[in-house]
């Protein structure tokens, strides 16, 4: 368990000065983390409230709609969804390996793991867009429901999964930018770790979206 290199809880003098933690007359941070990491945590909490609001909205509409459709079949929809879940979970693991490599100063190792994470994220996005494309071909849209019943399913499904997909695509771009920056020594392990925090949050949101939007809508 013990790791001798600087971990997320260890903030060096230079890092603290750079992040404004150590500048007199300011007091040291009570959270003992760099300000960029605290900023990411605050963003994550705000974003979690956004997704929470959207999922509550979905529950509200579903509870109030007697003719809510259940369009998904176990195969291929849920099987594809499970595959996407495994991809996203695995990308969190490769991200952790990337952060560990960055904190140990292994630049090529970090580049390799971060590249793998971005690749898995991109694969998730491609599978998601493929699924969207199939649904749109069937007649689903924000205002249309080919199964009959309320049209709200399409609005809710495309809105929530669309916002999540936007997070995934943004995350892939961010990971690639950070990886190149770390490789060229313009960015530090702290940047990699903060990006990792965001990526794990994207994974965490999917842990709610998949069961509530997919598994609860199997016919």
């Amino acid at each position: 368990m013990g790791m001798t290199h600087l971990m997320e809880g260890d903030v060096s003098d230079s890092a603290m000065t750079a992040s404004g933690l150590h500048d007199s007359p300011m007091e040291p941070s009570p959270f003992r983390i760099a300000s960029r990491k605290l900023t990411m945590w605050l963003f994550i909490v705000a974003d979690a409230a956004t997704f929470g609001g959207l999922l509550f909205g979905y529950g509200f509409l579903r509870f109030g709609s007697p003719n809510w459709p259940r369009p998904f079949s176990f195969s291929p929809n849920i099987v594809t969804g499970l595959f996407m879940t495994v991809i996203l979970l695995t990308s969190s693991l490769t991200m952790l390996a990337g952060v560990t490599a960055a904190q140990e100063g292994r630049r090529s190792g970090a580049m390799k793991w971060l590249g793998g994470t971005a690749l898995l994220g991109a694969l998730f996005a491609v599978l998601h867009l493929r699924e969207w494309s199939a649904m749109i071909r069937e007649g689903w849209s924000l205002t249309a429901n080919p199964m009959g019943g309320t049209v709200l399913f399409g609005a809710v499904f495309f809105s929530i999964t669309g916002l999540h997909l936007l997070h995934v695509i943004s995350g892939v771009i961010a990971i690639l930018v950070i990886a190149v920056g770390f490789q060229t020594k313009r960015l530090t392990a702290s940047h990699v770790e903060t990006t990792g925090l965001y990526w794990h949050f994207v994974d965490l949101v999917w842990m709610f979206v998949f069961p509530l939007l997919y598994l609860l809508n199997v016919h």
Binding site: G9, A49, I78, L82, L89, L204, P211, L212
Partner: protein
């Protein structure tokens, strides 16, 4: 150089164990969805499992377990309170059908 020590992070072995545990939770969710459990029971079970996964991800993947406790107490209870407050809208959801125009 002085450092502000909090706690050290876990090893890759711990991460892989947590990852396997989360995959197992996803598998349980899929089995429940395919087992034709009643709607309310399935919803409750899936929600509990999702929160369990979220807690594991927060503690291990996002390292909240290894930060100073103040960070957790500053961020998470307020978020949970916000989620609890959203529950006040359910009554309107139930009444929505009777409010609908013919």
């Amino acid at each position: 150089m002085t450092t502000m020590k909090t706690r050290s992070g876990p090893s890759m072995k711990v991460y892989v164990t947590v990852w396997l545990g989360m995959l197992m939770i996803v598998a349980v969710e899929a089995v429940l969805a395919g087992a034709h459990v009643s709607g309310g029971t399935l919803f409750a079970a899936l929600l509990v499992l999702a929160f369990l996964e979220a807690a594991i991800a927060l503690r291990y993947f996002m390292h909240l377990k290894y930060e100073v406790p103040l960070l957790f107490w500053t961020l998470i209870p307020g978020l949970l309170l916000a989620f609890l407050m959203m529950n006040q809208f359910w009554a309107d959801s139930v009444r929505m059908n009777t409010f609908r125009f013919p």
